[in-house]
Point group: D2
Chain length 361, copies 4
């Protein structure tokens, strides 16, 4: 498995934070699908570093170069390969991390797994920077899903406990989401910004929750058991660094409900079968119901903080205190929003490709 995902499409993500380049190969895409590279670049800019006062000062243009898979603006049936060159690298920031692992990072586990051969600079392959190629693949899938009338959007549901309004489960307000700091409620957005600024001033960081919705998803996507939409989505969403919880519909709240409260009654609306509520988040038995698909991901606070922390020296086998230097976001939740959209788009497009109902016909 490692860095490869997909049933019909095969997505392979590569690169290290301070290596020559990061990128992806997306195989299994039908020929003849249009690609809008400007729209893709705009999508990528939503997660690019160096946006706004709260992000890392590391500046990366994240300019995408397509190496293969396109001809005259359409997919040509060959695997799509795209790369982003790493331009602004400072590997000297990280030399000491081979000996003293940063709490909350993969430094220690990578050291154990790779026996010291891992690329430690900037977290190497574990860096949040690897979400950029995920956004290349996801941005493309979003474009292709929109051709099928499927639209995906997300917003910051909470930061440091400050909560935005939730999506309307029956008709999520995808267009109401501001792109610079994506929330539904400007007032909630301001409270979140204050919390981020406070954490930054304190040399600390904060986490949050991203809520994502997909509308126009036809009923019948997904498969039983391990191929259910929750399994497909959770596998890729947990591929996003810092995600520690994934839930669908009312998710964890279902545990405290009665069946009579949790079940979504079926009804008919303008000749179409719908559910009156959407506690299931548009998924029943792992298969889409035609109602909006709803999910939430909890993102832990950025582990890189300026505060003094306890760690150990692997060489000396003694406890030491560590001050993480380098350039870091006090809150990655805003930048995680397009990444969650991208991951959801990939999983949904893959399930769409895997759907073979027309064989019966």
């Amino acid at each position: 498995m490692s860095s490869t995902y997909g049933e019909c499409l095969k997505l392979s993500i590569f690169g290290q934070s301070h290596g020559a380049a990061i990128g992806m190969v997306l195989d299994g895409i039908p020929a003849g699908l249009p690609v809008d590279t400007n729209a893709l670049q705009a999508f990528l800019s939503r997660r690019a570093p160096g946006n706004g006062e709260y992000a890392t000062p590391r500046k990366e243009a994240d300019q995408v170069e397509f190496l293969s898979g396109l001809a005259d603006g359409f997919t040509c049936g060959a695997p799509i390969a795209a790369v982003i060159r790493n331009t602004n690298t400072r590997s000297q920031d990280y030399a000491s991390l081979r000996d003293i692992p940063r709490p909350g990072h993969a430094d220690y586990t990578a050291q154990i797994k790779y026996g010291g051969y891992q690329d430690v600079a900037g977290g190497g392959h574990f860096s949040g920077r690897l979400t950029a190629p995920l956004c290349i693949a996801g941005g493309l899938c979003k474009q292709w899903l929109s051709l099928q009338g499927i639209r995906i959007g997300a917003h910051i549901a909470s930061v440091a406990g400050k909560e935005d309004l939730p999506f309307d489960a029956l008709s999520p307000e995808l267009d109401a989401v501001a792109e610079d700091f994506p929330v539904l409620s400007p007032k909630a957005g301001n409270e979140m910004r204050k919390a981020i600024a406070a954490a930054k001033a304190d040399g600390d960081s904060v986490g949050g929750i991203v809520e994502c919705a997909a509308v126009g998803v036809p009923a019948g996507l997904g498969d039983p058991i391990f191929g259910g939409m929750e399994s497909r989505l959770a596998q890729i969403l947990y591929g996003i660094p810092a995600v520690k919880s994934v839930e669908f519909g009312i998710g964890q709240r279902a545990a405290a409900c009665k069946g009579s409260e949790c079940n979504d009654p079926f009804s008919i609306h303008s000749g179409k079968i719908v559910t009156v509520t959407n506690h299931a988040g548009g998924i029943l038995g792992g298969i889409t119901s035609g109602m909006p698909l709803l999910l939430r991901c909890a993102v832990k606070p950025t582990p890189s903080i300026a505060k003094l922390q306890r760690s150990v020296s692997l060489s000396k086998m003694e406890e030491v205190s560590l001050k993480v230097t380098g350039r870091h976001d006090p809150c990655i939740v805003p930048r995680a929003v397009p990444v969650v959209e991208a991951a959801a788009a990939i999983a949904i497009f893959d399930a769409f490709l895997a759907d073979r109902r027309e064989i019966r016909r």
Copy 2:
């Protein structure tokens, strides 16, 4: 994907609730691993129907027959196939469900996906009964993991909002879990039982949360990005019907934390590197840290309730009211406990098989 899971091992689950049999094929298992069929049968009995006052009255012995893969009590290197015959079937209970889907069930989505060809009896392939073959595979993986010093246990963390004590994140009390109604606090267990009885008396059902822990997991299992332990575990855990949330460590609570609170400081304990806290649930960067692996799954209330519900007639395209008959659990959480253990065992054993560090040597 569908009903197949795994990287090194390949698990294929088959069967319908009221078909001839349910079963599984587990391929990719090394030869020479011992199999204790009595222990496996005992593990299966923990999720078998007809246990205790709150479970469905449908009685099934769930007697496992191995068709292949074993020789003289050890795995022989060939795929392991095992079946459970369905004995106590009542398909006449379900005839009407082809026309009137049950809220909260897969009846409607299966109808759309399979165009009426699906086996509706008892939910067919979507039935919770398919967790029995999952427990065959998981029960075997649990035995083989124990040979590696890896132990897995779970308990009912909550039912209807009544909360059990949580596992100690540094040393989960796996042995303290009662097997008949697995909780850490007998007092909490009694409150849960009352809530279940009340729901049953009311023709309703209740949900809950299962907490699972694995101890003795070596550091270094799992892979970056899509092959991370969270991705591996979430994909299979979401294969369990009714699971709507999966979280690791402090999970969703991380969203409201500061980095300085969430990070687990490294320390040295009796010559071994440990973390002082275990908010990460034993996983950093998708790779196990050597600390206990901790996860929680929210299980929605059984959708089959005796209360009158709103649904639609697919043939008449009109709204109708529905009273679900048949035999159902007012709360499936107790029976879900071994299933979560089984799913976790499969994912961890697969990651263990996938670990190739010795190649360097």
Copy 3:
């Protein structure tokens, strides 16, 4: 990989020659495909042991029992599981083989790989008997392909150097193939029979070649590079025990040709693009051209012979002479014919399911 095959469909084959049962699980099949169990049983009888004077005297009815995946005679979208009980087992024939491996068999390599834990009886999982479940899957795929106008047939191209007429590469005579001893030329068939009888009388065995053709295959199936039809077909054809060569079209003869001789010129025939010759065997760049798909498999002689052979005692590490007892075919080529058809049908149906051209529309 092991005993699992497929891209869109997932075929898992299990069982040992003298175990409780052999069988298969076929996952990923769309719902609503009809299944003719009588036609399937008739197809299986073509490879069943105990047919005709030259086959092993071991009698097996090879009665298929479907455990799941069907409802009312159609696929229901759930994995299809089917088993054949082993009835006529004689494991005492094989006890000594754990120490003295039979030349040409997997006894030695299985001993090394499985460290003595393998099931040696009748070759265990390596037995030709495992081609029966392959024929269950292939027989089903043949039925479904025929609904798409795709027909598959094969014949004995040679036995012991005695050659049948080849298929007409532009219009293979699928219907001309006799089913009891499938050849195009009765005269060649008689010579083959004589060669088999002579080998049997001599306590020896003979090999041969199976030629297989598929007509009505639409142009455009298959994928570039590793997903080409040759790759897909060769992977599964080499899953048939005793196959040592797989070639397509003129195959090995292409090596001695000039490009001007080997290329198939394009032409137009009744408004349809065709090739004037079919040296490519209906595959260009790994993708079907719409011309008949043609392949040949060389089958080595049955390694089990009555003649005295040289082997070694693994326990004593000394050379010994071995006389293989038990019940064996002097020539398995006739029984291999339906197996090759089955393997081809599985690969072609999988490629058919994987074809997603309609996405553009």
Copy 4:
């Protein structure tokens, strides 16, 4: 499947003949394996175009750039991505091919599959140029296999019917193979050169056979049925354009043998179990026996010839005559030799990674 291969390793190949670049991603490789980039470049130069009088005049340095996966000369555990820029492109040569498909090429089948969206320049993704990234992956695997004492070599077994000496099946003369025009018999090599020169002078092309051997392969690699070494090797070998036959050991000749001739008797040689002959090519039941692994691939003559050929105009639906311009090899067999080695190395290293016998210990 498409352009992705592997069980434990995941190889994804991308690029078009005249696109920006060609390349590969190799995922699933353990960390800590050394990489000799000079040796790799030397290996690639063996298949590079523009070598010698008989190759295409298209000059490409085939300079490899590693984008990820390496740190300080060792694998770092992250996916290895490498690209080769296309420098010497002449897409105007190919404009007409969208309308008039070249016999023996994928032009027509690609047109049908991709509906005109395929990249036609130089055959696009179907170009033999895509064997360069295959050689990057294979060259790396060859280096890593040599660390395990496994050596792989190949030679031109025949061109235009002129036959080289075969490898000694018990101890293949890997070192005796000349690298510029790899044959065992210089005399045979000269006859082959003459045949190629004659074909070139005639505006024609010739095919041939590549024989490949691997020595030092431990017994026990490979899996039953679809995971057998023949299946693994054939799948990737058929990913090489122009390969139309793959056989192992004596291959097709086994069809005319008696069992008493074909079986390889076991014997003991200096305390090691060996076979007296090696007709099986080092594979029994799909699993390596410890004897040299032997295979042969038939390569059809280059379809691009200067001679006038018959084809059709897809737009006018009329027959036309076609003269293929551009730069082509009169014989690709010499350049195919390292490609076959590369493919074999990938399959064997993947099987080596998949071998989990130590779990028993």
